[in-house]
């Protein structure tokens, strides 16, 4: 995505450099890792002196230097893949079939294949560095093997190690997609990069070692049953003979070679440590706080300022970093808060504050209205710049075009939509082929996919069974309510090509009815049910996948409002105070409704000592807590003055609960 077409200024100026810096650090760390690997692979406890001297002498050998060059290239590739595949909004499959679709996705296939190859390359380096019997793929046959001494025989140990590298590379890629390893989470506390790295490094080593052990077990089972296939293939293609004097490795006796297993495990750990360190450094660099200016005196820089960044068609990562920066500045930086509260120089309008709050308030409104078009929302500016406008306008389009469903393969938006429906996991998604562009970033796809193409008209045809399956913040009891909404209601841009308004034709209706029949038929089969049944709480997770942005928005907004109590000299905050409060209260109501649903309040199993980031699984709880804290922050600061704010009676009642600390 970054290589093709015009790339965004932020990606090319900041993200790219951060990724490059993280990769550079990994490359610098490579000799250390390699040295450790050599020392450990040469381990012989009987001859410690020989062990040390051998490893030291080997480290200066030409082989190792050459391997370091190759490993550098591998790290560069891994870094490139990290950059291409990272996401700040995880894609959470709601059904097993969606997960399967994710794994078999062409984009994922490219990823897996590349990591397979790189795993093999790393394993080759490892085998060369270990040396001994692993070094070459072919060795002269021994005398008693039947053949003549001039024939070359296959060195199965070498092949075994190479295949292990490929296997571990593939499982790295597979686990990455299953466990959302490409998800970049943001820490609750800010720390310097070095300290973060130092804190996470033991975890990386431990996780790699354990993961390598599991992969080793699976690989041995795999090789035991299917090992003869690659062996025979290599033998025939390279015209090598089988050495019958050595025990074949796909036998129990061959696999019980402890030193072989040790070397295999060490090599696997070496591979995973390098790759996970690359990923760790990448995540640390990417999620580092970025300071976005509140205002700029030069008009050419205006697109880099906070209000502009929060609105336009900006990459998700930029929005996240901008919101994080907003949350930080609202807490820690009085001088930058002054800029937010300041008036424009000629004219004296509080543009900064107005722009900022408008973005943030609409953020919340879109979520709390469950993606439904709010009657008075979608103001004039929505069509132009607001980030939410895309969602909102997308919804308007959807209302006009009820035919954009996963069933209609003919529509222009189909390619984009199918991928996203697969991820939001409706039942119908399983029937659509994945025809997604492999270069779209996951985040982008999710956002596009997040939009639920079901319109009220469509919903009436659909079985309620299916309707229930798509993630929603909450469902209103009135059946006729227009539940066409973006489940994620992500405030991101959606590059949906606006489809032409079309009217339902007879043909499409017929196709749709056929499809419903097939669906009903298949729903009775056990396997199908297994694949299509919604995973518990997955839809809830999917719905709140981008909640981190909302949490920052809430924190930033509430801190700014609280700071205005003492710092706002012109009273600019008062102008939007009631809309801020009402947006928070509406969001609170919506979130409360969501938590009344089953599965919403069940906690996922917490796994400590794991490298994978499971923050996204608990984001809904974090959002609920942040929301309450934000409202309490405002009510505690303003005290009784808050009753002077104009509010509807319902909101006043709700606020009263907060004033009495009964929420």
């Amino acid at each position: 995505m970054f290589l093709l077409g015009h790339s965004h200024w932020f990606l090319s100026k900041v993200i790219w450099w951060r990724a490059a810096a993280s990769t550079a650090w990994t490359v610098l760390l490579l000799p250390v890792t390699t040295a450790l690997f050599i020392v450990l692979s040469k381990a012989s406890l009987f001859h410690p002196i020989q062990w040390i001297s051998e490893s030291v002498s080997l480290f200066y050998g030409s082989y190792v230097i050459f391997c370091l060059l190759i490993l550098t290239a591998v790290v560069l590739f891994v870094g490139f893949f990290n950059l291409e595949y990272y996401t700040v909004v995880p894609s959470i499959p709601c059904t097993r079939i969606a997960l399967l679709g994710k794994v078999l996705h062409p984009q994922q296939f490219v990823h897996s294949l590349a990591h397979c190859m790189m795993g093999m390359v790393v394993a080759w380096c490892a085998s060369v560095m270990i040396g001994g019997r692993y070094k070459f793929i072919a060795s002269p046959c021994t005398e008693d093997s039947g053949g003549s001494a001039h024939q070359m025989c296959l060195n199965e140990y070498h092949l075994f190690l190479l295949l292990a590298g490929a296997f571990i590379g593939y499982s790295y890629s597979l686990l990455g997609v299953v466990r959302n390893m490409n998800y970049v989470s943001f820490h609750t506390v800010q720390q310097f990069k070095y300290l973060r790295f130092k804190g996470a490094l033991p975890l990386v080593v431990k996780y790699s070692a354990v993961q390598s052990l599991y992969s080793l077990r699976n690989y041995c089972i795999f090789y035991f049953f299917f090992g003869y296939v690659p062996r025979a293939w290599i033998c025939t293609t390279m015209n090598l003979h089988k050495n019958s004097s050595v025990t074949a490795l796909d036998t129990v006796a061959g696999l019980l070679d402890l030193s072989l297993l040790y070397h295999l495990w060490i090599s696997g750990t070496f591979l995973l440590v390098i790759w996970y360190t690359t990923m760790l450094l990448f995540k640390i660099y990417i999620s580092e706080a970025y300071s976005v200016p509140v205002q700029s005196s030069f008009s050419e820089d205006i697109f880099q300022c906070l209000p502009a960044v929060l609105s336009g068609k900006e990459p998700m990562i930029l929005k996240f970093l901008a919101l994080q920066d907003l949350a930080l500045l609202s807490q820690h930086s009085p001088s930058r808060r002054q800029e937010v509260f300041s008036l424009s120089q000629p004219g004296g309008h509080p543009h900064n504050w107005k722009d900022l709050t408008q973005r943030l308030v609409t953020y919340h409104e879109v979520v709390s209205f469950n993606g439904r078009a709010k009657p008075q929302s979608i103001g004039r500016d929505q069509q132009s710049t607001s980030s939410d406008s895309s969602v909102a306008s997308g919804m308007e389009e959807l209302a006009k075009t009820p035919w954009v469903s996963s069933a209609s393969h003919t529509t222009g938006v189909m390619p984009l939509r199918s991928s996203m429906t697969a991820m939001s996991g409706p039942q119908a998604a399983g029937f659509t082929p994945k025809s997604d562009s492999p270069f779209a970033s996951p985040a982008m796809k999710r956002l596009v996919g997040g939009q639920d193409p079901f319109s009220p008209w469509f919903g009436s045809v659909q079985s309620p069974h299916v309707t229930r399956r798509r993630p929603k913040l909450w469902t209103s009891s009135t059946a006729g309510s227009p539940l066409n909404g973006s489940p994620s209601a992500s405030p991101a841009e959606s590059p949906v090509p606006s489809p032409a308004t079309r009217t339902p034709s007879f043909l499409t209706l017929w196709v749709h009815n056929r499809q419903e029949q097939v669906k009903n038929f298949l729903a009775k089969r056990a396997l199908i049910m297994y694949l299509f049944n919604k995973l518990p709480e997955a839809s809830s997770q999917a719905l709140f996948a981008d909640s981190q942005a909302h949490i920052w928005a809430l924190e930033g907004l509430s801190h700014l409002v609280v700071a205005s109590y003492t710092e706002d000299r012109f009273g600019v905050v008062q102008t939007t105070f009631s809309s801020i409060l009402s947006s928070m209260l509406i969001l609170q109501e919506a979130v409360d409704k969501h938590f009344k649903l089953p599965h919403a309040s069940s906690k996922p199993v917490r796994s400590s000592f794991n490298l994978e980031d499971t923050t996204y699984k608990t984001l809904r709880f974090a959002l609920r807590a942040a929301l309450k804290t934000a409202i309490y922050r405002i009510t505690t600061t303003f005290g009784q003055h808050i009753y002077a704010v104009q509010m509807s009676g319902e909101h006043r009642k709700r606020l009263q609960q907060f004033m009495e600390y009964r929420e």
Binding site: L45, T188, V189, F192, F621, A625, Y632
Partner: protein, 596 residues
């Protein structure tokens, strides 16, 4: 053939085992000595000129930070220091301190004789509370079925007592081969030797869990106290009390029901605190985990289920002796004397970020400054740290005498008062600039000043001589910054030197001043165990004291403060409390920051 080769290559030979042990031990010793000497080195690097000039100041910041931090004007007036001799003499026996009015402490004959209190005085009788605090291992022998297989017993021992338990089980069992028994006996001896060596560096590690909590708790005589913890809600009239039987009760001024919280994991409660800017969440530091209860204030249930509690645990992070919520309610930090890292918890997401600093051997006490910018973290050795909370960097403050026992922050977060075990004084640190401006430095004084001398002083009362003074157990500063309560340990051996609460009048602006106010005394024979100020008392300050006889009393201090409506702890910079009181006659500033 091959298998045999490999087996012989395993490190089972005697020579290799010795090599490994040698390498392990030597690296361990080297590591520990490095740690030890790094502390000593910091001490020895103190330049003599600084040392001499500061006189009574005994704390010096390490050189590393001194360069980065600005110096502030600290001057100590040792002769002007507040001492207990200036206090009014304590009440005679039978008299109870009721309240403070017109700058005088008013006494009466009974706690209940004063009707003006908002709160009933609670009374938890020691004998009514059944203690569950006996160790599980003591009853283990009576119930353990010795017919279990070795495998089962080993697994149980591993689960209960870890590696040493496993070795002990194997060494004591008869049905294993001889070499295994001898080997595990040897390993056990080695383990004990290593742990004793480790324990000699950090003596607190040899304590049992209960003793460790008792040692580092803010409650005086924690193990024998009916009330083990107390926490006011930061915004409403509601408090939680942790009792000896490991239950927690919540009392609310608006309702008659008091929910009792019990949980399987809620054992030896060391501390509890309500989450700021939240009505429901109560964090409890337990034996081997943190519990965060969500108690719905509108619910009428008296026994909230265990499902209302979130369990936060991290391997190696037990017992938890101190917790602190961020004043903005965003994160919770927890500390354990065994764990060198302190945990920053995102409670809603149940994730934690360990902040590790090796020196000190653990973290015992945490206190978050009310403005949220700094955190005091005390360690079991003579060292404490002050973290700034923006980038989470810390300053090391090595002490010369002992570990930091307790500390408290002024409401504006500019002054930190703390006390050191083994010294009968209160120290003050002043922080001038907002943290984070020069990053990596929390900004402030480079040395601590002694502000109060609490050495034992004799008072003549009608009953005879009473000696008052001693080390500080805990400090509490009221949210307006006008009263400072100090819980003095007294001398447990001498009956004439009881534990008392000394209350100081304080002001922090324009200069920091400390004046004597008086002693708060309870019924005859009752010693104070725990003190805390009400966070939002409108007429002054309300000091809550838990006594050794299980009584909880609330002592109001009525005074007028022109501070106006106090801004909540909502993270906003608190309003500067203007100086309101005129100097009362008879009061002279006993400690003043002002340099003449």
């Amino acid at each position: 053939m091959r298998i045999l080769d490999v087996v012989s290559a395993l490190p089972l030979g005697g020579g290799s085992v010795l090599w490994v042990l040698y390498g392990f031990c030597s690296s361990w010793i080297a590591f520990q000595f490095c740690l030890r000497f790094s502390v000593l080195f910091v001490h020895s690097r103190v330049p003599s000129s600084v040392w001499r000039n500061t006189g009574g100041i005994c704390f010096l910041q390490s050189q590393h930070y001194k360069k980065a931090c600005h110096r502030s004007n600290v001057c100590v007036k040792s002769p002007m220091m507040c001492s207990l001799a200036l206090f009014p003499s304590p009440l005679p026996d039978g008299q109870v301190t009721l309240y403070e009015s017109n700058n005088e402490l008013v006494a009466g004959t009974s706690v209940d004789s004063y009707p003006k209190q908002e709160w009933d005085n609670l009374h938890f009788r020691r004998d009514a509370l059944k203690s569950h605090s006996h160790l599980e291992s003591s009853s283990k022998a009576a119930f353990l079925d010795h017919k279990d297989t070795l495998w089962m017993r080993s697994a149980a021992a591993w689960r209960d007592a870890g590696l040493s338990g496993l070795f002990e089980e194997i060494a004591n069992s008869s049905e294993v081969p001889r070499w295994l028994t001898v080997g595990s006996g040897f390993a056990l001896a080695l383990l004990r030797w290593v742990s004793s060596f480790h324990g000699s560096l950090f003596p607190h590690l040899t304590l049992s869990t209960e003793d460790m909590v008792a040692e580092f708790s803010q409650v005086l005589d924690w193990s024998d106290c009916a009330v083990r913890g107390f926490a006011w809600h930061p915004h409403t009239d509601k408090f939680a009390v942790a009792l000896l039987d490991d239950s927690i009760r919540i009392y609310n001024s608006k309702s008659a029901t008091y929910p009792t919280l019990k949980h399987r994991l809620q054992r030896s409660v060391a501390a509890l605190q309500w989450k700021p800017l939240c009505a429901t969440a109560l964090a409890v530091a337990c034996h081997n985990c943190l519990l965060v209860w969500h108690v719905d204030p509108t619910s009428l249930s008296t026994r909230p289920s265990a499902g209302c509690a979130q369990v936060l645990s991290h391997p190696g992070h037990s017992p938890v002796t101190s917790i602190a919520w961020a004043p903005s309610g965003s994160v919770l930090i927890s500390a354990s004397p065994v764990d060198t890292s302190m945990m920053v918890w995102d409670v809603a997401a149940e994730t934690c970020v360990p902040l590790q600093r090796v020196g000190g051997g653990g973290v015992t006490f945490l206190s978050w400054s009310p403005d949220g910018s700094r955190v005091l973290a005390a360690t079991p050795s003579s060292l404490f740290r002050v973290w700034e909370t923006r980038m989470w960097t810390c300053e090391r403050w090595p002490c010369l005498k002992g570990r930091c026992q307790t500390g408290c922050w002024s409401p504006d977060g500019k002054h930190l008062l703390f006390s050191v075990k083994g010294e009968m004084v209160i120290y003050a640190l002043t922080f001038t600039e907002a943290p984070g401006e020069p990053l990596g430095c929390s900004g402030g004084a480079k040395a601590a000043a002694i502000v109060a001398d609490l050495s034992v002083t004799s008072f003549q009362t009608p009953e005879g001589e009473v000696r008052i003074g001693g080390e500080v157990q805990s400090l509490a500063w009221d949210p307006r910054g006008e009263r400072l309560a100090v819980l003095l340990k007294g001398d447990p051996e001498a009956p004439a030197c009881p534990a008392v609460i000394a209350v100081f009048k304080t002001r922090s602006s324009p200069v920091f001043e400390l004046l004597p106010c008086g002693f708060v005394q309870g019924e005859a024979g009752a010693e104070p165990r725990l003190i805390q100020f009400h966070p939002s008392f409108s007429n002054g300050a309300l000091l809550t004291v838990c006594w050794s006889n299980g009584r909880i009393t609330h002592t109001p201090f009525y005074f007028v403060s022109a501070g106006g409506p106090r801004i909540g702890v909502g993270g906003s910079p608190p309003l500067p409390v203007p100086l309101c009181r005129t100097m009362e006659n008879g009061d002279r500033p006993l400690f003043s920051d002002l340099c003449s």
